[in-house]
Subunit: 227 residues, 2 copies
């Protein structure tokens, strides 16, 4: 199994969104429960995308969904933030897990690497510049104008590389993402990120299926695939 | 004028397609007039795209147009090549002009950089890996599903970055590309590549309009824009 391209989930798999979003929230809302706010903001992520996946709303970039969800959460918590647009761009300033940048450089020596995220091209581009993620190109939701785990997002990403799905490996810390990628014909690699939701996390602590590769981090993934 | 992003024409502006295509043709067709063949292959480029721009054919990636045009040209010259698909991938193996890689690294320190080419995402991705072009993302024809100089290609590239056209600068060695970009509201930079078509070239030797910037090469462009 030597994939010609690896495509990656980003939020949670490559970057520690929770710590970074909480840090940005704490900076503009001193005294608030920043982790609870971060979890509440991220909690609106799936419902917002689900309306689009279900066909009840045309495709809207994740930047706009994040911005709408921020309004919702600040309202629910009764909080005021002067620069909501600026705060919304916190999603462009997430830090990578420590193994990610060296691991991506290793992998890029052997295969094309690209995000296959629900983030927009703009968001993934700015996040890559912030975090030093050396992507070859940006794939994912925006080129499919739909959201994972809909099969079209994985298939559009393979098609954009002119590769058959079986030549492309999806890398994620979330079993449901890999399940959808496998159903679309892609190879799969699970890299656990047990701290994504903090120490109390219950889900995705290990592989739920016999994924093609299970690796402890990105450099280990590169060694397992390419020696 | 400090653009937030610079988007680039690639064939001719960033890479020396003619010398490289001729070299690959010479390798598989010893004795043939490789430069004439390269010019003939490239000569079918605009007519093939024109059918799509005019709405007479659905969008087809440039990889496929190149492959069709190769058949056409080999037929016209009465030449046989065993591996036409492999030869067609010569477009993924073009070398950059000597100033391009250092200049792009300079520019990338100040702004988002991306190709806005008629090449597909797959072609631009593999070419960037071959030539060492440090793009932040791949924009251009495929995300618009149309071909330059149609305005939608420039506008889709700006929209994918969530930037207004006036914050984005189109960089090209071809006046007609800049004319279309300016008409779409983008800033413009002309970088002459007088050797693109060899020593006998007549067109695009200098700027045809008062482009926002005229620079002798990419490092000079970076100095003029960002000091």
């Amino acid at each position: 199994m030597r994939p010609e391209a690896l495509i990656f989930d980003v939020f949670g798999t490559c970057v520690d969104w929770r710590t970074c979003i909480a840090r940005e929230l704490a900076a503009v809302l001193p005294g608030a429960d920043a982790l609870a706010l971060a979890d509440a903001w991220r909690g609106e992520y799936q419902p917002a995308m689900e309306r689009i996946r279900a066909g009840n709303r045309d495709y809207v970039a994740l930047d706009d969904l994040h911005r709408e969800n921020l309004n919702l959460v600040l309202g629910r918590f009764g909080l005021a933030v002067p620069d909501r647009d600026g705060l919304n761009r916190a999603w462009e300033r997430l830090d990578p897990w420590p193994d990610v940048v060296p691991g991506l450089h290793d992998l890029r020596g052997h295969a094309i690497i690209a995000p296959c995220s629900n983030g927009s091209i703009a968001l993934m581009t700015r996040l890559a510049r912030h975090a030093g993620l050396p992507w070859d190109c940006i794939l994912g939701a925006e080129i499919a104008r739909d959201y994972k785990p809909r099969p079209g997002v994985y298939l559009a990403s393979c098609a954009a590389l002119r590769l058959a799905p079986e030549s492309v490996m999806m890398v994620a810390a979330h079993n449901d993402d890999l399940e959808a990628a496998r159903a679309a014909g892609l190879a799969t690699a699970f890299v656990p990120r047990p701290m994504e939701y903090g120490p109390d996390r219950q889900s995705d602590l290990g592989p739920a299926q016999d994924w093609d590769v299970v690796a402890s981090d990105f450099p280990a993934l590169s060694r397992q695939l390419f020696g």
